[in-house]
């Protein structure tokens, strides 16, 4: 397979990746279906922003965001059923149960761990170190400006953390299990080693003391944009959306079995970070995963960073101080 030249790189040399918007699939069906799956994403984004902008204070609270988030995900699961992007990505009972297990970890034991070692502690520490009153000018800005800034700053942090995970072996070990998924579904974002899930939460946006409403607005942007990166739904996403926001097309390229393609599209919400830093590849892929599509089970996902790290360290030590042994797993960085 020859692949396609994108900048200095060749994409799709190892596994099939469609590069460019011209060749990707379109929604098949009548005018209503075409209309629905063309405008669903923008309408939901603007509806969410309008809701959080105008909701009375009694409703503009985190618990509302939680309930809306769950309801929206149930709706998206319905869309996956009605209009799947690929038949080979169709959600099965076993995959749904497995995905929900990881989601459940996030809502229970990881949340507990986070309060001791995760983002909550970091935010408390950073807020205590600096005099944040100097940033009070920020909270005087219009709400939407604050919300956009929060969303973009947080995503900027996630971009570099994610890029770091693909370029520094110890971080890669925590992220690798997430790349063993062989299909995308709405809850696949939760799949991964818990260490990674704690690390990815360490964005920089949370360090600022924003107005709660602006923070909820930023969350609404995240919910109605980033949520689509792991979804098995065929959309006719508008061109302007694809230019500024991350999409399932971008993220499927990132999850493809092609090594070079996995080193692209790192952002969660704002693909313009990838465009700015030269890591964006517009396109899509169906064949996903690592090691030829080997599925990683829950048990291996839990111990992979530690067992693989132990093996790599042992191999490195033996290489340096003793006889060489087996090489570490590729692709790593």
């Amino acid at each position: 397979m020859s692949g396609v030249q994108v900048g200095n790189r060749v994409i799709g040399a190892d596994a099939p990746v469609t590069v460019g918007w011209e060749n990707i699939g379109r929604v098949e069906g009548g005018p209503f279906k075409q209309f629905f799956f063309t405008y669903f994403q923008p309408v939901m984004l603007f509806a969410a922003v309008a809701f959080w902008y105008y909701a009375p204070n009694s409703l503009a609270v985190a618990s509302t965001a939680f309930i809306v988030g769950i309801g929206f995900k149930i709706l998206l699961l319905g869309l996956e059923w009605v209009n799947p992007r690929y038949e080979s990505w169709k959600l099965t009972w076993k995959e749904f149960a497995t995905d929900l297990f990881y989601v459940g970890l996030g809502f229970t034991v990881l949340r507990m761990a986070d309060s001791y070692i995760g983002a909550d502690v970091m935010i408390e520490f950073v807020q205590g170190v600096f005099d944040w009153d100097k940033f009070s000018w920020f909270t005087a800005l219009p709400l939407l400006v604050q919300a956009l800034a929060i969303s973009m700053i947080f995503d900027f942090g996630q971009y570099w953390m994610h890029r770091g995970m693909h370029n520094w072996y110890p971080l890669w070990l925590t992220h690798a299990p997430h790349h063993y998924i062989t299909q995308l579904n709405i809850n696949k974002g939760a799949i991964g080693n818990p260490v990674e899930l704690i690390l990815i939460g360490l964005g920089v946006g949370g360090f600022f003391d924003f107005l709660p409403r602006a923070f909820l607005l930023a969350g609404a942007i995240g919910l109605t944009v980033a949520v689509y990166q792991h979804i098995n739904v065929r959309f006719n996403t508008p061109g302007w959306w694809r230019y500024i926001f991350n999409t399932v097309e971008h993220h499927s390229v990132h999850h493809s079995q092609d090594y070079e393609a996995t080193r692209s599209n790192y952002s969660a919400t704002w693909i313009i970070w990838d465009r700015i830093f030269g890591t964006c590849v517009d396109g899509e892929a169906e064949v996903l995963g690592m090691e030829g599509g080997r599925r990683m089970d829950i048990r291996e996902t839990m111990h992979f960073p530690f067992s693989e790290g132990y093996k790599s360290t042992k191999a490195w030590l033996q290489e340096r101080f003793g006889q060489p042994t087996e090489q570490r797993q590729e692709p790593a960085e």
Binding site: M1, W93, K94, T98, T108, P142, T182, G293, R295
Partner: protein, 237 residues
């Protein structure tokens, strides 16, 4: 010594039989089912009229991904074929046990709350000092013009929320077990659905594979790679 635990067995085992309106030899039937056993991590053995298989961590695209071990028996009858199956599912077993794990997490949350209770005195002090310094945040004039609701003033907040809270004089625990209880219930529900649905889907898959010449397994993406040689693809004949 064998221990007979029928109720335990029913958690993860599915057995049944069906009749196909076409007489076929076991070898013919197994040939039609063959694509399901040429996938990643599958080992199988045919012994006369019985096929025994195991699947090690199959991909989601594998139609037998839920039932990872078992046997199929094919018997010719007059003008018909009887197919019986006896299969087991680790996924069903783990899903059955998952509520216990989440109940354990709920217990952990309660335990951590007992070990590390929130400090009501300290919290009140910090809240009071913060509120004393806090001035009501003014909205930007653009937001005022567009009609966004202004933030509540501290005294309004106190009158709405504070009264109830001060009556109770309770401090919110650090960890809530509620989500763990909800997830335990959800996994019990998922188990019930799976225990009912998955054997039905298995029967449908077997029937289609045996009777519909047009039916084929949904293409496993990994089988369609044209650079890396699949280790589990059906060898070319």
């Amino acid at each position: 010594m064998t221990i007979n635990l029928p109720f335990f067995d029913a958690i993860w085992r599915a057995r049944g039989a069906m009749v196909i309106d076409e007489e076929m030899a076991p070898a013919t039937a197994f040939e039609r089912l063959d694509p399901m056993f040429q996938l990643h991590g599958t080992k199988y053995k045919v012994d006369g009229d019985t096929l025994t298989y195991t699947k090690d961590n199959p991909t989601p695209q594998d139609k037998l991904a839920t039932f990872t071990r078992g046997s199929l028996k094919v018997e010719r009858q007059s003008g018909q074929t009887a197919v019986s199956y006896d299969v087991r599912s680790h996924a069903l077993l783990y899903c059955f046990l998952a509520p216990l794990l989440f109940l354990g997490f709920a217990g952990l949350a309660l335990g951590l709350n007992a070990i590390d209770p929130p400090d009501p005195k300290g919290k009140d002090e910090t809240e009071e000092s913060a509120e004393a310094d806090e001035e009501p945040q003014q909205l930007h004039w653009i937001d005022q013009m567009l009609g966004a609701p202004a933030p509540d003033k501290p005294e309004e907040k106190d009158s709405e929320e504070g009264a109830e809270e001060s009556d109770k004089d309770e401090v919110k625990p650090k960890h809530s077990p509620t989500s763990a209880y909800v997830l335990a219930g959800i996994f019990f529900l998922i188990y019930c659905v799976g225990r009912f649905l998955e054997p039905l889907l298995l029967r449908r898959t077997l029937r289609r594979a045996l009777t519909d010449p047009e039916w084929r397994l949904p293409a496993n993406p990994s089988d369609r790679r044209d650079v890396v040689t699949p280790t589990f693809a059906k060898p070319e004949e």
